[in-house]
Amino acid sequence: MADEIRILSTVSGKGGVGKTIISSNLARMIAYDRKVLLIDFDFPNQGLTGLFADQVRAACYNARELIFGSDDIDIERVLTIRPNLMFIPAFDPADQDRFDLRIERFSRADLLARINKRLRLLLDNFGFDIVMLDCHGGLDSISFSSFILSDRTIIISEPDKITFNGTLELIDYYEKSWTELFEENNEADSDTLRAARSLYSPHGRQGIRHEKVLFLLNRVSGRFSYDGLTRLYKAQVEGNSAFASHIIGRYVFIPADSILAQSVSEYPLYIELAPESIFCQKLELIHFYAFDARPRVPGRWFTYFIFERKRHRALERQLTSVEEQRTRAVFSFVTLVQFGLLMATVWVGFEASMINSHETTKNQNLSVTHPSLVASWAVFIGLGLLGSSWLNILIAKYYRDISRFELRLFKLGRRRTAAVTLARLVRSVGARGYLLVSSVLFVFIGFMILVAAIAQLLGLHPPW
């Protein structure tokens, strides 16, 4: 995928799959290095327009104007939401006629030609490196035009029956629309389509570029394996459609992220709040697949480079969310502790009975501080402490993520009450500090106890 990428689009067969969040954050990531224009083509839902509602002003340049208005693009009215990142919302919020879009007045060929012309104008005349289109989740002509015109399309889906059906419908719709467009004596004879083709048809008659699609499966979990999901989707999507097989190049899986879900209502761009997160690293992967280059992502703590950065292969295969890993660790630990306690009780009970029978033959009383008993218990306590330390570190990671999240929200001015933020920070930082300090102590004490106990059981003296 080394050829020049100028237009990216995100599409899906149904709404609610995370298209808006992915396109906005990906646009933000690309904007660290390039000048990006993000356009909300989701006229029915206006996802991006809602996400950036606090920055959308009346009389701003909007997507309705871009497609259905004149060729004069008033760049002064285009919103700037970040350095290098400009945004065209679906509608001007003051537009009283915004529900009367009348897309049906335009043929597919007309729409294709119009959108193509305007996007070329934006790219050639206003210095944008990348135009990113967030389309409607479902089948519509604007989504089709975006798919045809973009150099890379991200089809977003989820691992369930409903979304799978929607995704297949979308791919079929694209195939059918494209085929009909080129049928003889149809719209193919129109001047506008010819113009559109001559403007942007780099791959001749077939038109649609091979492997232009990144198939993104969002909100996956550890219930699936990377190999299993890839095999399934290859077989069921590409195996049933030659067209799908032609257009799909890569599969990317993004695990669910609870902090991301929480952040949407607080701040529009998650990667600014959590550039260390798996979500952000997965977007880096998409960036890499699209542009053959890793983006520059600022604002990461140095701990990211030591503890959190995933290698390429591990990142590709990561399907479990951090939260899922923590839950699993807690469950495993509880099971292990219970098993250990059961074993310790049986073992110590047996040791006590043996000592008891042995000592009473000598007419002596059994002491609870008998070295063998103490050593047996100590083995389990040592192991328990080492396990606790491991668990504490995992839970401390949760507090690390939360404290980073809160701190960045505060820095970005999204926390109005400093005292409450401070209290939250103190709580999460304090909890994390306690967990980390106790982990170190647990490792130290657990290890010492374990060595002493094993030495005692073997009849040796500990090395100290």
Binding site: K176, I208, N240, F243, H246, M343, V346, W347, F350
Partner: protein, 140 residues
């Protein structure tokens, strides 16, 4: 009629019977379970689980027999070394728990993927009934 001289030590007859019953049960079990290992469509984790299951069968059965023999002989002339049994059972139980959790994880993935596959196949089958006969843009 002279009665045969009584052997010293415990009567191990019932033990032999129970050993034979164990043997027959295991044979029946493995006759139905072992062919699973040869099937190519059975996933690897199930084969590993079956192999472990067979091993555990032999192990548990053998342990019970040894324990029974140990108990029987302990009545006459010696003490049972319970510590050996404790260590053995603790180690086996630990390994078993670990194996079950690993297999359960693999099984969960397998089941989830099969369920998803069944859903996908249902969707593609339903779609095939209403496939339009328009020409496709790109053919393999």
């Amino acid at each position: 009629m002279a009665t045969p001289p009584r052997k010293s030590g415990p009567d191990l007859g019932p033990l032999g019977e129970s050993a034979k019953a164990h043997d027959a049960l295991l044979r029946e079990l493995y006759k139905s379970v072992l062919p699973l290992l040869a099937k190519s469509d059975v996933p690897l984790f199930i084969k590993v689980f079956v192999a472990g299951f067979i091993f555990m069968g032999i192990y548990a059965s053998g342990s019970v027999l040894i324990l029974l023999a140990d108990v029987a002989t302990s009545f006459s002339d010696r003490r049972i070394d319970v510590r050996t049994y404790l260590i053995s059972f603790a180690a086996t139980l630990g390994v078993l728990l670990l194996a079950i959790s690993v297999v359960a994880r693999a099984a969960l993935r397998y089941e989830s993927e099969r369920a998803l596959e069944a859903n996908m196949v249902a969707v593609t089958r339903a779609r095939r009934q209403r496939m339009p006969d328009h020409a496709v843009a790109v053919r393999r």
